[in-house]
């Protein structure tokens, strides 16, 4: 029985955050693909509160919430560090990870799946948020230090996935003219071998989001 099991969805950026952390530490694990339309009893037992992926199960004990899992992996396994050593740098990394998860992601979600005015307002807000990131990343290769870390991983959705989602939705928010530093960071990130070799297939993500946008459009189409 695998000591380390990851309940995840291979297309999901949240799942990939954890996989990246495990790979960086060289931890062997069993990946168990979840069907979110038909949640397994293992998932429901392991994450009864949120019933979401990813869930890491280590020695039979479940840990939930992707960035909490990443910190757990950093603290438990030997290998290159994911968070910096210095407490101030760690605070900066955590600050930006939080900024992504709590500010950027909900607003981006509304730009893609919000209706009418809500979506338009969200697009303005999203632009402001990406401008903040763009300012922060001026003269910086990654969020903290010169190697990929915790905050960059928290932002993974806005790297590889964002471009694909924008293609699927037909709505482009992020261009290198508007956000040059952010786009440079995205390229640095995507070219890192630890990341590049472990991304889900582009077509599969494109198909997934096209289907979601179609379903949303069908749901709101006039009868």
């Amino acid at each position: 029985m695998a000591e380390v099991k990851l309940l995840g969805v291979s297309l999901s950026p949240f799942s990939r955050r954890v996989e990246w952390a495990l790979k960086i530490k060289g931890v062997e694990y069993e990946f168990v693909e979840q069907d979110l339309q038909n949640k397994s009893s293992l998932l429901l037992e392991s994450n009864p509160i949120h019933k979401k992926i990813p869930v890491l199960i280590h020695n039979g004990k479940p840990i939930c919430e992707s960035m909490i899992i990443v910190e757990y992996i950093d603290e438990t396994f030997e290998g290159p560090s994911i968070l910096p050593k210095d407490p101030y740098d760690r605070a900066i990394a955590r600050f930006w990870a939080k900024f992504f998860d709590e500010k950027c992601l909900p607003v981006l979600g509304k730009t893609w799946f919000g209706q009418g005015e809500e979506s338009e307002k969200a697009k303005e807000e999203a632009s402001e948020l990406i401008k903040i990131l763009d300012n922060e990343l001026k003269d910086k290769k990654f969020f903290v230090g010169d190697k990929i870390g915790f905050a960059d991983m928290a932002a993974n959705l806005v790297t590889y996935w964002l471009g694909i989602i924008e293609e699927a939705s037909g709505n482009v928010l992020v261009t290198s003219e508007k956000f040059p530093n952010f786009c440079a960071w995205k390229d640095n990130y995507s070219n890192c071998s630890q990341v590049k070799e472990h991304l889900p297939p582009r077509d599969a993500i494109l198909a997934h989001f096209k289907a979601r946008f179609q379903a949303a459009a069908d749901a709101t189409a006039p009868k």
Partner: protein
């Protein structure tokens, strides 16, 4: 030295209080700067340009923002009287429940405070469910064990604000009979020496929240 450490806070904010308590528990001296949020100081805007919020801890001129990030920074910088558990799994659990507190429990209780009619009833149901989940987590005197820890500081606001909200909205949110463990915890936390000298004056709090409640009532009259 006190001049190396500054805390920007307000007289009443529970987020600021978390840091006050943490610094007290660790025996750390600092200068407190009380902000008026209707007239934010230039220093606050400089130190927290993104969120423009308190608390902000400024250590040797470097700002740290977001109360949970600050708590971890304090714990990693001053090692005496640790706030977070040492064991990585227990630490992950503490972070999980802190996230639950911020993202589920607090908003559900706030929705009861600000809501009207049907919306308020639904919010109350959800808030009670969330409190039940928290009740199940209490295994010892405090969330941190025999002594106050990180999670107690995160949930500390319950021990003084719940009853103020109840008075202002004239609604029993928290039935002590249904939550014997949480009830006992609230009393123990409220009376703990490192905590109790910092409580904001209750009458001032009631006035503040009465004003806020009226604002919500007039902004969103019941349909």
């Amino acid at each position: 030295m006190a001049e190396e450490l500054k805390l920007h806070r307000t007289w009443s904010s529970p987020f600021g209080l978390r840091i006050v308590w943490a610094l007290h528990i660790k025996g750390i001296e600092y200068d407190a700067i009380f902000e008026d949020l209707s007239q934010k100081s230039p220093e606050l805007l400089q130190y927290n340009p993104i969120h423009k919020k308190i608390p902000v801890l400024v250590h040797k001129g470097k700002p740290i923002c977001e109360s949970l990030v600050i708590l971890e920074y304090i714990d990693e910088t001053w090692k005496e009287a640790p706030l977070l558990p040492q064991d990585p799994y227990e630490k992950a659990m503490a972070r999980f429940w802190a996230k639950f507190g911020e993202e589920k429990l607090l908003p559900s209780i706030w929705s009861v405070f600000t809501g009207q009619g049907e919306e308020k009833k639904e919010a109350l149901g959800l808030a009670v469910q969330n409190l039940e989940l928290l009740e199940e987590q209490l295994k010892e005197k405090f969330f941190g064990g025999e002594k106050i820890g990180y999670l107690d500081l995160v949930f500390g606001w319950l021990a003084y604000l719940l009853d103020v909200f109840e008075e202002v909205i004239d609604l029993k949110l928290f039935d002590a009979g249904k939550f014997p463990l949480l009830s006992a915890w609230m009393k123990n936390f409220y009376d703990a020496p490192e905590i109790k000298e910092h409580w904001p004056p209750r009458d001032k709090l009631v006035t503040k929240f009465q004003v806020l409640h009226e604002k919500y009532q007039t902004a969103n009259p019941p349909k």
